[in-house]
């Protein structure tokens, strides 16, 4: 609920600004990849909501756990029902700031450093992420990767499949924001 308020606030706040500073995507891409010698597991989510405000560098990302698509239906079922408990925790979200936005805007360095809080499975942890950030008048594109430790979010993996699921999964984001009208 708190996330909804923050997003609403983000949407309403900069109505005072004239220049286009808020960018949004409703079709963002986030995938995760778990690699073990036994099995590789990948899931993709193409319906990620992300809003960037260039006036202050804030970023708000929100996604539905059930929108993650797996190759195998059984994996998707286990992910939702046993591990992530997506009926109880349907969303994951990230609230953060682009720490070095001024440098990126000045064009000195296209690599953004994003710091903030990641919430998965009802647990919030601070994370730091680096990624390529391209900013033009019509597009704000962020491409980055971060390793996420499964145990940090109190996601319980039964010992029988513990060898199939990596302790750290690689999360990839490709978010192409367009001007918010």
């Amino acid at each position: 609920m708190r996330n909804t308020y923050i997003i609403l606030l983000l949407l309403l706040l900069p109505l005072v600004n004239y220049a286009q500073e808020r960018f949004i995507t409703r079709n963002g891409f986030i995938s995760f990849y778990s690699h073990t010698p036994v099995e590789d597991i990948q899931a993709v989510n193409n319906q990620v909501l992300s809003i960037v405000d260039l006036s202050n560098g804030t970023v708000a990302v929100s996604l539905l756990m059930k929108s993650f698509q797996f190759e195998k239906a059984l994996m998707q079922e286990h992910f939702n029902e046993n591990y992530i408990e997506s009926d109880k925790y349907p969303k994951a979200s990230f609230q953060g700031t682009i720490v070095n936005l001024l440098d990126v805007l000045a064009g000195e360095n296209g690599v953004a450093l994003v710091k903030g809080d990641l919430t998965i499975h009802g647990i919030t942890k601070p994370i730091t992420m680096e990624g390529k950030l391209d900013i033009t008048d019509l597009l704000v594109k962020f491409e980055g990767k971060v390793m996420v430790t499964v145990a940090d979010f109190e996601i319980k993996i039964p010992s029988i499949v513990s060898r199939n699921i990596a302790r750290e999964v690689e999360v990839t984001c490709i978010l192409e924001h367009e001007p918010y009208k």
Partner: protein
């Protein structure tokens, strides 16, 4: 001796068949076939959006993981990573129903235009700024 051989052969065959069954039906069980599945709910985009806007938790309990057949006017068509994404909505609304189309529909989506009515069916996964339907297929476009 011959009998023992025969019995072990039968046991082996049964084991092989059950292993194959588990492999194909459990481990590799297919994703739900949205085309074949009956819709659990048949609603308009307006009704669906209003239900989620009014009480998201209640709407989640009702619609999550269910096959929802939804009709509305096409507001937007996009291609993202090789998948078609169609937004259904109605005039003057901020929110829409985003249908993430099954790749089998890629060709048929090419014939669709913004502003025309569409009825689509898919799995409801929840609500962000819009209601989201995954694995959607086209039911009717008139």
């Amino acid at each position: 001796m011959k009998k023992a051989l025969l019995i072990s052969l039968i046991v082996l065959l049964i084991a092989a068949f059950s292993a194959m069954y588990i492999y194909t039906r459990v481990y590799n069980k297919p994703h739900i076939d949205v085309y074949e599945a009956d819709a659990d709910y048949n609603v308009s985009a307006l009704e669906l959006i209003e239900e989620f806007e009014m009480d998201e938790q209640q709407a989640n309990r009702r619609y999550l993981d269910k096959i929802v057949q939804v009709n509305g006017i096409i507001r937007n068509i996009e291609t993202v990573n090789g998948l078609s994404v169609i937004t259904l909505g109605y005039d003057g609304a901020l929110a829409g129903v985003i249908c993430n189309m099954d790749p089998v529909e890629n060709k048929d989506v090419l014939g669709l235009k913004v502003g025309q009515p569409l009825e689509a069916k898919g799995v409801c996964t929840g609500y962000l700024l819009d209601v989201i339907i995954m694995r959607a297929v086209i039911i009717d476009q008139t």
